[in-house]
Amino acid sequence: MSTRIYVPRDSGALSLGAEAVARGIADEAARRGIDVAIVRNGSRGLYWLEPLVEVEAGDTRLAYGPVGTRDVLSLFDAGFLQGGTHALSQGPTTQIPYLARQQRLTCARVGLIDPVDVADYQRCEGFAGLRRAVSMEPEQIVREVADSGLRGRGGAAFPTGIKWRTVLEQAASQKYIACNADEGDSGTFADRMLMEGDPLTLIEGMTIAGFAVGATRGYIYLRVEYPHAHRTLLEAIAAARAAGYLGTDILGSGREFELEVRVGAGAYICGEETSMLESLEGRRGEVRVRPPLPAVKGLFGMPTVVNNVVSLATVPVILARGAAFYRDYGVGQSRGTLPVQLAGNLRRGGLVEVAFGPSLRELLYDFGGGSASGRPLRAVQVGGPLGAYLPESQFDTPLDYEALAAIGALLGHGGVVAFDDTVDMARMARFAMQFCALESCGKCTPCRIGSTRGAELIDRIILGQGREQNLRTLADLCETMQHGSLCGLGGMTPFPVRSALQHFPEDFGATRAH
């Protein structure tokens, strides 16, 4: 029997040389006349160990990483196929503390299975949620999701069950499920990891959503920056269709669901739900005025569920294990788990799926291992480019929607970007305005013009020109953008700007002026 070896096809692992490592292992095995089966799995999310090679040994998998092509020969010499010890040995994968301390529900299969193998997926509880949903009335499915406490993981944290109920209640000839896979926030990669590592979960979640609200068509709006996720999704959709999990009469239920991937074209704003719908319809990604809500009048004017990848990929486990199982994780109004993404200047960046509740400090130090540079961490941006910058004094804030909102911050899509003490926070504040100017759809004035004026004001403040006057004008501008913009881009750009000013005034020349 051949030995199974796992070498990720995840684009993060590929970016560190996984393809050459897979080839190297195959070649060396052939040279030695050893029979191996190389499975291209997703990433476990332990990116400091990528490329992470795993060898199946009975019921466990032994990890070696980070493996370079230069290590292949010595791994074979050390007998890694029989679990031999090597300088890169990490022991059984599931016992690596970073992974052992997580609660993987949404991302349970990411890195575990061959992402496009339906049989592998089914062996790991795949399609159990859909099988249960098939026997349920739409209203029951919606109630299950509502009872789980799941809130939109894209950033807005709106209760998913309420959104689904609104769509269910609409009478329409056609309804849609639109998956927002336009993961544009810097510091976030959970959607990508799911689509590359366990796309069948997303497909299953969308199908269940379709059954729940009476939608027969789904679209995945995928950003063009994710070519590997695109290929994996297409393979997975084809595999699901071939196995009868997409199409007409799914699992003999008489119900139908079809799915299509549409690729964006490099516009951050298309992560905003109404802009995404415009883009899906083939137009400029300009934000729509709400109401009507997409749940009432969405894609092609029809009732549409718009959910993020992580939200939809969480639905199968909720259906498979029940609402109570999921709801039992978490704190307060933040139920379940969140795939946190540790990024930027951290020693151990990666995916950490945990129940809501741990502090930022635990994530940054216990998981993240502190800064990659070895210098003190000075600031952390949580929730993407529109999230607030938090200073060290706020690192004890628990990971929970309400706790972050209480300090004027947001959890967003769960991205955490760490900066060491070399960061210039005035520059980061300016970048926030500049990014907004670059990505504004142009429909509303506070965002389109305010962002450019904001960057200019910060320039003058940094130069010490009319400091007090310009600070007042900037505060006023932030107020206007926050309350006068049509969507979150202009409306939330003030978060990073204000928090940088509030917590790091010294970077804006505060001492020079006083």
């Binding site: 684009s11 993060g12 590929l14 970016s15 560190l16 999310g45 990116y47 400091w48 990528e50 993961e183 544009g184 810097s186 510091g187 976030t188 990669f189 990508r192 063009v224 920056e225 994710y226 070519p227 590997h228 549409r262 690729v263 964006g264 074209a265 490099g266 516009a267 951050y268 883009s279 899906l280 319809e281 083939g282 137009r283 400029r284 990604g285 300009e286 092609f300 993404q341 540790l342 990024a343 930027g344 200047n345 951290l346 960046g349 990666g350 995916l351 990659a372 941006q381 480019p385 991205g415 970007v417 760490a418 900066f419 060491d420 960061v423 980061m428 970048f431 990014f435 670059l438 990505e439």
Partner: protein, 165 residues
């Protein structure tokens, strides 16, 4: 506006025809045109507009809205460097400045020999391996100036042997 040769016109017609019946087909069409020609030729806009029964302004408006669509041919290779926060936290700005100096172009430009187009992107979703870049759709993480040199040398070597990028 230059005109398109007959073969190009024919190809664009077939792309439009292949997608026209699908709902909301314009982005799909533009992607396929750009895949085939490396860019969306401005002269193709009236033809696409006519095929979809849209105005030229509508099609131009879409092409110009999205950063990904280009109106001029790119270089033989495309180097996209992430300029977003996570990569900034890991010396991404220094890498970006190095790339500009090394290639002798600014972001958005193509080297004089047509070898490489330098593009800014805002997040490649590889933020645990910052700074991140893409060279022709292939991702590279934790890129140092030295690593960038080596990767660009591979591109030049591939060009020299006539292999496609």
């Amino acid at each position: 506006m230059s005109t398109l040769d007959a073969r190009t016109r024919e190809r664009i017609d077939s792309i439009v025809a292949a997608h026209a019946a699908r709902p909301g087909p314009l982005l799909e069409i533009l992607h396929e045109v750009q895949r085939d020609f490396g860019h969306v030729p401005p002269a193709a806009i009236p033809q696409i507009a006519q095929g979809l029964n849209l105005s030229r302004a509508e099609v131009y408006g879409v092409v110009s809205f999205y950063h990904h669509f280009r109106s001029t041919p790119p270089g033989r290779h495309r180097l996209a460097i992430c300029r977003a926060e996570s990569c900034q936290a890991m010396q991404g700005d220094a890498l970006a400045a190095y790339a500009e100096q090394r290639l002798g172009v600014r972001f958005g430009e193509t080297t004089a020999d047509g070898g490489c187009t330098l593009e800014a992107v805002y997040c490649l979703g590889n933020c645990a391996c910052s700074p991140a870049i893409l060279i022709d759709d292939e991702p590279h993480g934790r890129v140092t100036p030295e690593r960038l040199d080596a990767l660009l040398a591979e591109c030049s070597a591939a060009d020299a042997t006539g292999a496609s990028g």
